[in-house]
Symmetry: C2
């Protein structure tokens, strides 16, 4: 652990007087994460800077550090922000905030699951915030990393799915898990991955999508996090091209507004295997109401905050995206 | 003018060694704007910080200062950013960038003008980027501030409308202009205002909307910039309530993704006066193609980059917005 005087901040200066920074330094995680803290001396404020905005700098004002830890897999940091509630950071990159996670979680879950009849066998990698909103039979959320389970205490609404008896938690390598899965086992696979850097790089490459297609039943569906239409059109083009080749059913791109993700949007890649046709734009399952009751306890309500009424709109792309992404034309 | 050593940056430190900052300091505009520059010493980079993101800090990396001036009305700054092209700043607040202005300009123009038959008398306050895409008869764009005309050299694509013989430029106070207008003169009024702080505050208040309603013909339409559904639901509620009271026709709220506006979105308030019913969600005029030719010279093409295919989707709101804004329910 470096001494306090070694702390380096975004502006290149060395600061160590703010109590939040001292607290964070004491529970030292790593140099990589520390460098994202920016200290505004004149206002006595601390900002956490998200490095995933190229050519931009996007920072959230920090009120309090709530949790920090490091395992052999990754660094975890949770802080209370002034504008977006609690913020979860993995390896220095903002993963979700209390204020805007609703749209992301609900869209990545319901875009695929509303598109098929009675999903029963579903596997969801990473987070499982909105799982209980479905009357599916058995859930197999795979968690890549052990730390995710700890979110239960800090983000009880996100961890609500863990209490559902239909949910089975698998901790480990999701790619290995899928490789071992029986062929055609799953109705739907949801890949809520982190950005494609480091270990997550292979989550946007051909072998991964082949593994998924093999694990899906005929007419099964994949929903994969697919970056920003403003910033990553080359990556979107690559993913669409690979998936049109591998999945023989419908392949579509959708998006939603999530302010704390780069450029304020996040995309979703939707793919169906050959079999009963899937029309992602016109879902066959519609949620019964925006207030869905938990089946296990009956005393908690899961309010869907973003999904309703925006399913179809998610497929409406500004025309510049179609011009930049050839695979979206025609 | 302060000396270079007096420059104060976001982190509270005093810096003056970067050539961009020196250049900007030489063409001194004001202390208010200078304070938005943040100097990253370790990376030798300069960022411009947009103060309109409360509880957040959003900055664009500056490559070169292109233009700066100050009149009795406002400060103007244009810089080349690394990620969003040229950026226009008025009084220290980012107004538009080359990369994402397309969606804003096209939506604020076409949401209202596609909703009525053959718009002829249209007045548009502030910017006129997409004017020539219509075969309307006479255009009366009012410009609040003299500096806007200078954008012709720096943003030729935005200033393209000035060359159209149907366009008449009025420089002055738009509110006074509208008060003097004959009652019922206009088919459509587009209020491309800045944020409701300072002189623009009255642009979201009852007397202003009453002035507009009086100047519109029966069944005429207003489109007003209406902030972020993520951040300003109280303001949206107030505007909707006031306008439902004043305008007796349809009143709707729409939005679009614009990364460099606070929270990455911008809203539009659409109002129709009593008369022939207006259905904003289902426009009666559809643009003939996304490539629209200028009628004056025939040699310039105006490519609509954002509008097509997202008109209807603009009215699909995440359900949390309906819960926070009572006026959007039912």
């Amino acid at each position: 652990m470096p001494s306090a005087t070694q702390l380096l901040f975004l502006d290149g200066s060395v600061k160590f007087s703010h109590p939040l920074v001292l607290e964070y330094a004491y529970y030292y995680v790593s140099w990589d994460t520390l460098v994202h803290f920016c200290f505004n001396e004149s206002l006595n404020e601390v900002y956490f800077n998200n490095p995933m905005w190229p050519g931009e700098s996007h920072s959230l004002k920090v009120e309090k550090i709530l949790f920090r830890d490091k395992s052999k897999y990754q660094e975890v940091l949770v802080f209370q922000s002034s504008a977006y509630g609690k913020v979860l950071v993995l390896d220095g990159i903002v993963q979700l905030t209390e204020k805007d996670e609703c749209v992301y979680q609900e869209m990545i879950t319901h875009l695929p699951l509303c598109s098929i009849e009675s999903p029963q066998n579903v596997i969801s990698g990473y987070f499982i915030g909105t799982l209980p909103s479905y009357n599916a039979g058995v859930w197999y959320p795979a968690s890549l990393h052990r730390e995710i389970a700890r979110k239960q205490e800090i983000f009880p609404e996100l961890a609500i799915g863990f209490e559902d008896p239909r949910v089975h938690l698998h901790v480990g390598d999701a790619i290995e898990f899928l490789k071992q899965a029986p062929e055609g086992k799953y109705d739907a696979i949801i890949v809520d991955s982190s950005d494609p850097v480091g270990p997550a790089q292979e989550l946007v490459e051909r072998p991964f999508f082949e593994t998924i297609a093999r694990a899906l039943r005929s007419g099964g569906v994949l929903c994969n996090m697919a970056e920003s239409m403003w910033l990553h059109t080359h990556l979107i083009q690559d993913m669409l091209t690979i998936c049109r080749d591998i999945f023989k059913g419908s392949v579509r791109y959708a998006w939603a507004s999530v302010p704390t993700y780069p450029s304020g949007v996040i995309g979703f890649l939707l793919c169906a295997t050959e079999g009963p046709p899937v029309d992602f734009v016109h879902p066959i399952n519609l949620l019964r109401s925006w207030m869905v009751h938990l089946t296990t306890e009956g005393k908690l309500n899961l309010q869907l905050r973003g999904y309703l009424s925006i399913h179809r709109a998610a497929f409406a792309l500004p025309s510049f995206v179609r011009r930049e992404v050839e695979a979206l034309r025609g």
